[in-house]
Symmetry: C2
Subunit: 110 residues, 2 copies
Amino acid sequence: MGATKTDHFTDKQNSIASMAKALGHPARIAIVEYLLKVNECICGDIVNELPLAQATVSQHLKELKVAGIIKGNIEGNSICYCIDEKTIEKLQKYFGNISDKLNKKKNNCC
Amino acid sequence: MGATKTDHFTDKQNSIASMAKALGHPARIAIVEYLLKVNECICGDIVNELPLAQATVSQHLKELKVAGIIKGNIEGNSICYCIDEKTIEKLQKYFGNISDKLNKKKNNCC
DNA sequence: TTTCTTTATCGTAATATTGCAATATTAAAT
DNA sequence: ATTTAATATTGCAATATTACGATAAAGAAA
């Protein structure tokens, strides 16, 4: 027990959930917002922007990367990270689709 | 150690993170999709739709409710749950804003 | 080469999540 | 009042996450 029953759900459900999960931590939201703010891809000072230890930030970056929220390449002794626009677009469309359906249905019993 | 350092981040960052976190599990995505599908708010058969025990489903519903993803009222011996369109809209706008900024910047170095 | 700087990984402790059986609760139905 | 049906809560075990110090790795600078 204790482990998520991934097998019992569809690929799409698991996919959306894993993207959402990656963004389900304020530090990772802060990282995404920082990457958005700096504009540039070369951003080797993420660690200094966050109230967390370097090891912790590195771990959060890894999770974002595994979930496809950010992408990065090795560039010298620093790393070039940036937001993967395709993933964000997927999320936007997913929630947009839900919004649309809700608006059409206008189920306001609650 | 081990607990999320909520205090170190902004309210908005924590808010978005908690919404995303609530959706960061395939069972909870499945619940949202089911609520969307059935259209009606009166839906007392969520448990039968999921490959999980009743207690587990109830727990997931509670998490979705606490995070504001769904709202529900007591209605007889069953519960009337439905998606909170305002929360979904917030998420859509949040990701829409990120997408817009990314498109403007066109930073495709990665 | 040695040192410096930056990021990654390992090991570990604290805490949180996931899942379920058992039980409680609550209101409708009989 | 008793039974039935549905959801909630409790308690617990298994697993995952969060965080950080220590250490490793790898390129840049001296």
